[in-house]
């Protein structure tokens, strides 16, 4: 491990999970470790360092470097300590004259084929080969220069064994001349990441690390750039380009990734205030030392030239922006908002909290709206992603959150992945899942598209139920039908934990013949026998866990599907222990937190309804104000009201509703109708095209706070540099509040967390000291669960008895017909994130520089569409143009695209239909037609022109 800054000890081999203890003697010291531990790890735990090169605790022992040899009394020879398990009473010597000699000899051989350019090497100061040469006391190399891999020329001719550096990956280089062929990178790619993109080609002296096949380079190979190989490499062979450019960091700070809902812990390695690299943190409980291309490498947006660092205002959205001082911008905004309220009423303004900002910042934005604006017009982007999760799980279980921690996947036997694409959307979780699948767990994928998990090296889903978009509920009910009618329910669990009466109603409903797989097959497109086998596997295969994503929630029956998932988990007794549960894969870093913090118009922090007098009283007492007891407006209602002329002002923090919300034209009309739109963001995003005030935001590197990930884990975000824009986002919100006479005086986000803890029972025992001490905390954390709650509902459901709810399938109103015969569904890609505001401003664009439309060869041929050609994509809402990708990943009749690029504007196409319970838009089903085209549509060209015009900035007045 390259962890010289905060020494993250490397124990050489992974920990054993055995509960039996073995005691042995190493160098005279008595050591007790779990059975199955290697001699190397036992020594490391006792503080005895055995030299090593090919061993690291992120991968299994390999025994190839021959440096970690030890002598064991009563055993012949010198076994490798990494591959030798401990035994009771064993007596080990790690340092003897014989071992010294052997190790020195081994090092001499290594160094005989390694360049001696240590002083100018990028790994200088962070090289295990260098360290080991020192440890074994290597003083000279007796071998004469001969055939080698590192000299470019030999005897005046090109050295045939020399290979130049592979610099094709934008973030790291592969320098074969520095390679000692320890295989750590190959093993990390296989064991940790699970991609198997690397191998050792050839044999003996010809052995080389090879990405993909002989003709591949790193970029062209199967490599997903997760960085595990770079992390594992003991030399400069695989090296971050940032280290080559900058040099070694001088300190590091543990913080939390600001991309997806996995919430990986990272060490931000710094040189002064400059971020040198992000390294996954081994003690991080969500990621356990792993990372993906986004968190590991794609942080360049934080210092991108597009970032706006000065506040700006304008009277009309037709005007160019005027840079002004913070004072002027804030007072301009505050005056406008107060004027609007005096003219149009208290409820004429509102705000949108961000799922990318911290809990503390989100809490303050909703406090600003409730306390200072005096209404409940607060909403968050969870509206458009996981609001049905909140509703569905609260109804059935009693809490609006997933039930497990990510470690739980290690004990899972059957996994259902539904409407999620973890290898792209939640890559670190996907790697952990794949590891478990390679150990033998079974996988059922329910998705219209053949996602990578269906079949990828060493992973093969037992069942892929490729349903027609929009038929989730029918499929889930048919699964339940099979389980109930074939007598596979866990009756004990249901009788003890759930409401038996309701179960019986539900069982009667799902058992009806119209809900059988045979009856619904025509509708869902899933063959009945396949569905029945999947149901049997889930009910009888051991610990069953369900992981789901936006393919479940973003439908007109999103909440119903979440409920049907909960029903299935309860019916099979898969709740309340490790290896089971219902696990929503959250999209953004802090969606969970934003929901927890009372971002919704009807809920105060902790999911308590605004009409609840006791809850309001708690806040009213601390905030010294009356809180409106009427729920406020949701995002779509705000936009509707704006078009009608009753909603006039919006404070939008870290959220690009124009690009991410459905029916772009309607969003644009709503924003245009408002008189004061305040956008608080890193970049002039698409929403800012309609804004009057722009408040520059700070990146996750520039502020303190917490994010809450998909497993309810509250992780610390730590400031590693001063905000480039001058203020952290929570300070900006405070400035605005105080300009509206709020009188806030927070000096640190920890004070906000204390206020959250004081007002919200599930956070009662959370504070920064506890987070510092424990690393992270999974809520609920209170007197009943002082250590937090990794797994929920272990002793009965939070709501008392688990509630079964009947889930009637109702087809969406969005239907295909002669004009729009195809169904469009949307998703994500590994290298890009959400609306792409961050990842588009990094080198990640080499993997995905535009949104493509995936279309089945059958549909493509019918329409005369070639792979890579422009196509027009039209729905009842609008049309756009993008390039086609002909693939059988999608079924005939289904097309698929991503929404990462604003020039595509996939949401011009999506409709106004939304979830019946929560208004979560139906992004995943739109009836469309696809036809050949010459290029961008008029709308795209108009839009691009308008975006360009509205981004004009006048220099600040002198």
């Amino acid at each position: 491990m390259k962890d010289f800054i905060i020494p993250d000890p490397d124990f050489g081999t992974p920990a054993s999970k055995s509960t039996n203890t073995v005691t042995l003697i190493i160098d005279g010291q008595q050591v007790s470790v779990p059975e199955g531990t290697s001699v190397m790890r036992a020594s490391a735990e006792a503080g005895i360092k055995i030299p090593k090169l090919c061993a690291t605790d992120m991968v299994d022992a390999f025994g190839s470097c021959r440096l970690c040899l030890v002598e064991i009394e009563g055993r012949r020879g010198t076994p490798a300590s990494c591959t030798t398990p401990v035994a009771e009473g064993m007596v080990v010597h790690s340092q003897t004259p014989k071992l010294h000699k052997l190790r020195k000899g081994v090092m001499e051989l290594y160094i005989s084929d390694h360049p001696l350019d240590c002083l100018t090497c990028a790994a200088n100061g962070d090289c295990e080969l260098q360290d080991m040469a020192g440890v074994v006391g290597l003083r000279d190399v007796r071998y004469e220069p001969g055939e080698n891999h590192f000299e470019t020329r030999q005897n005046g001719e090109a050295n045939p064994a020399y290979q130049p550096k592979d610099e094709t990956n934008p973030y790291f280089t592969y320098d074969p001349s520095k390679c000692i062929v320890c295989s750590r990178c190959v093993r990390a790619c296989e064991e940790v990441q699970g991609t198997f993109a690397l191998t050792i080609e050839g044999r003996g002296f010809d052995s080389r690390v090879s990405p993909g096949m002989g003709s591949d380079d790193f970029l062209g190979s199967e490599c997903v750039s997760c960085g595990a190989c770079v992390q594992a490499c003991p030399t400069a062979t695989l090296q971050e380009k940032s280290i080559i450019e900058v040099g070694q960091p001088d300190h590091s700070v543990v913080t939390t990734c600001a991309y997806c809902g996995v919430g990986c812990s990272f060490k931000a390695e710094m040189r002064g205030e400059e971020l040198v690299r992000m390294v996954p943190y081994k003690q991080g409980k969500a990621n356990r030392g792993h990372s993906c291309v986004k968190g590991r490498f794609a942080y360049g947006y934080t210092s991108h030239k597009d970032r706006i660092l000065n506040p700006m205002i304008r009277d009309s959205i037709e005007d160019p922006w005027q840079e002004v001082s913070w004072d002027e911008a804030i007072s301009f905004a505050a005056t406008k908002l107060r004027d609007l309220q005096s003219k149009h009423g208290v409820r004429s303004i509102g705000g949108i909290t961000s799922s990318r900002c911290t809990n503390e910042e989100t809490f303050l934005v909703q406090k600003l709206i409730r306390q200072v604006f005096g209404n409940n017009n607060t909403d968050t982007c969870a509206r458009v992603c996981h609001s049905p999760t909140g509703y569905g799980l609260k109804t059935t279980f009693g809490t609006s959150a997933g039930t497990q921690d990510f470690d739980s996947v290690e004990d899972t036997d059957v996994v259902i992945v539904m409407g999620a694409n973890p290898t792209d959307g939640h890559p670190v979780f996907a790697s952990r899942l794949k590891k478990r699948l390679r150990q033998g767990a079974k996988l059922i994928v329910i998705d219209p598209r053949r996602i990578d998990l269906v079949r990828t090296p060493h992973i093969q889903a037992a069942h892929h139920l490729a349903l027609t978009p929009g038929t989730n509920v029918a499929v889930m009910t048919a699964l339940a039908h099979t389980i109930v009618t074939e007598g596979l329910c866990d009756e004990d669990f249901i009788r003890t934990q759930c409401d038996w009466e309701e179960f019986q109603d539900w069982a009667e409903f799902v058992s009806r013949p119209e809900n059988s797989p045979e009856s619904t097959a025509l509708l869902t497109g899933v063959p009945a026998e396949e569905l029945r086998s999947a149901a049997r596997l889930f009910a009888t295969g051991g610990n069953g866990a369900i992981y789901y994503g936006l393919g479940v929630t973003e439908h007109s029956q999103g909440s119903t599907t979440v409920i049907s998932i909960a029903n299935l988990a309860m019916a099979t007794g898969n709740i309340g222990r490790r290896g089971v549960g219902v696990n929503p894969l959250r999209g953004q870093n802090n969606v969970q937190g934003a929901c927890d913090m009372g971002s919704f118009p009807h809920e105060l922090p902790g999911y308590r309804h605004v009409s609840d007098d006791a809850t309001r009283e708690v806040f009213e007492k601390i905030w010294g104000t009356k809180i409106d007891d009427e729920p406020g407006l949701r995002i779509p209602n705000m936009l509707d009201a704006a078009v009608e002329g009753t909603f006039k002002g919006l404070y939008c923090q870290g959220e690009d509703i124009l690009q991410s919300d459905p029916n772009t034209k309607h969003v644009a009309a709503g924003l245009k109708a408002m008189e004061c739109v305040i956008v608080h963001d890193l970049f002039l995003n698409e929403t800012a095209n309609y804004a009057h005030v722009f408040l520059p935001g700070s990146s996750f590197l520039e502020k303190d706070g917490t994010f809450t990930n998909a497993e309810r884990r509250i992780n610390r975000v730590r400031k590693v540099m001063a905000p480039k824009n001058g203020y952290a986002d929570w300070q900006v919100t405070q400035l605005l509040a105080n300009a509206m006479d709020a009188g806030w005086n927070y000096t640190h986000p920890s004070q906000v967390m204390d206020e959250i803890a004081a007002t919200t029972p599930s956070f009662a025992n959370v504070n920064y000291d506890a987070l510092e001490e424990k690393g992270s905390i999974q809520w609920p954390c209170n007197d009943a669960a002082p250590e937090g709650t990794p797994i929920m509902h272990t002793n009965g459901f939070v709501r008392g008895k688990g509630q079964f709810v009947v889930t009637e399938y109702i087809a969406t109103d969005e239907k295909t017909g002669p004009r729009y015969p195809l169904l469009l569904t949307t998703g994500r890609i590994l290298s890009q994130y959400n609306v792409g505001a961050q990842t588009r401003r990094t080198e990640n664009v080499v993997w995905h520089d535009q949104d493509d439309l995936e279309i089945h060869p059958f549909d493509a041929e019918n329409r005369g569409i070639q792979d890579g050609s422009w196509v027009r994509l039209a729905s009842r809402s609008g049309e756009t143009a993008l390039r086609a990708k002909v693939t059988d990943r999608v079924s005939p009749g289904v097309v698929y695209t991503t929404f990462h690029h604003p020039d595509t504007q996939a949401n011009v196409i999506t409709t106004d239909y939304s979830d019946w319970a929560t208004n979560c838009p139906e992004y995943k089903v739109t009836a469309v037609q696809v036809s050949p085209s010459n290029g961008p549509t008029d709308w795209q060209e108009d839009y691009a022109a308008r975006a360009k015009a509205s981004r004009r900035i006048l220099p600040a007045a002198e």
Binding site: F196, S210, G214, P457
Partner: protein, 158 residues
């Protein structure tokens, strides 16, 4: 031996061989042998087909194939002559045999004669040390080749 060059023909033939090995615990090596026997070498197209069929990564099949010198990525001669260079044979004059063979065929190790007749390969022990120096022409081993090199070379080029 035949040499298929057309990509789709290679894919089809490879798939046929791979399918015949389905169900084996470790089907890759026997399949690689099968492909080499059928096509004379293992083209990249065949490796891609095998990776896809056995659900392995491209890197893995490449790693396995490149470990074994006997698997060829390019077509060789119609026949392969392997001359042993291990200790026993060296002691009995294998170096001279090798030099003579190279000279008479006009090729170096791993090369094929311009007429495509024979590829010359080194090999390290054929288990025929009692009759050293030894060689192998396609599947047949020959002892004391220093005494009959010309006959062997003639046979190789026939």
């Amino acid at each position: 031996m035949q040499t298929a060059t057309d990509a789709s023909a290679i894919r089809a033939r490879t798939l046929e061989i791979a399918t015949a090995h389905d169900g084996l615990e470790a089907p890759l090596l026997p399949t690689l042998h099968g492909v080499q026997n059928a096509l004379g070498h293992i083209p990249e197209e065949a490796l891609l087909t095998l990776a896809e069929h056995f659900n392995l990564s491209r890197a893995e099949v490449h790693g396995v194939m490149s470990f074994y010198h006997d698997f060829k990525t390019k077509p060789g001669g119609r026949k392969v002559l392997k001359i042993c260079r291990a200790e026993a044979c060296q002691a009995m004059g294998a170096d001279a045999v090798a030099a003579a063979a190279k000279d008479k065929l006009g090729v170096d190790w791993h090369e094929t004669t311009p007429n495509g007749a024979v590829t010359l390969e080194p090999v390290y022990c054929l288990g025929l040390c009692a009759c050293a120096p030894a060689a192998m022409l396609d599947d047949k081993v020959h002892g004391r080749v220093n005494e009959q090199l010309d006959t062997l070379l003639a046979e190789a080029q026939s």
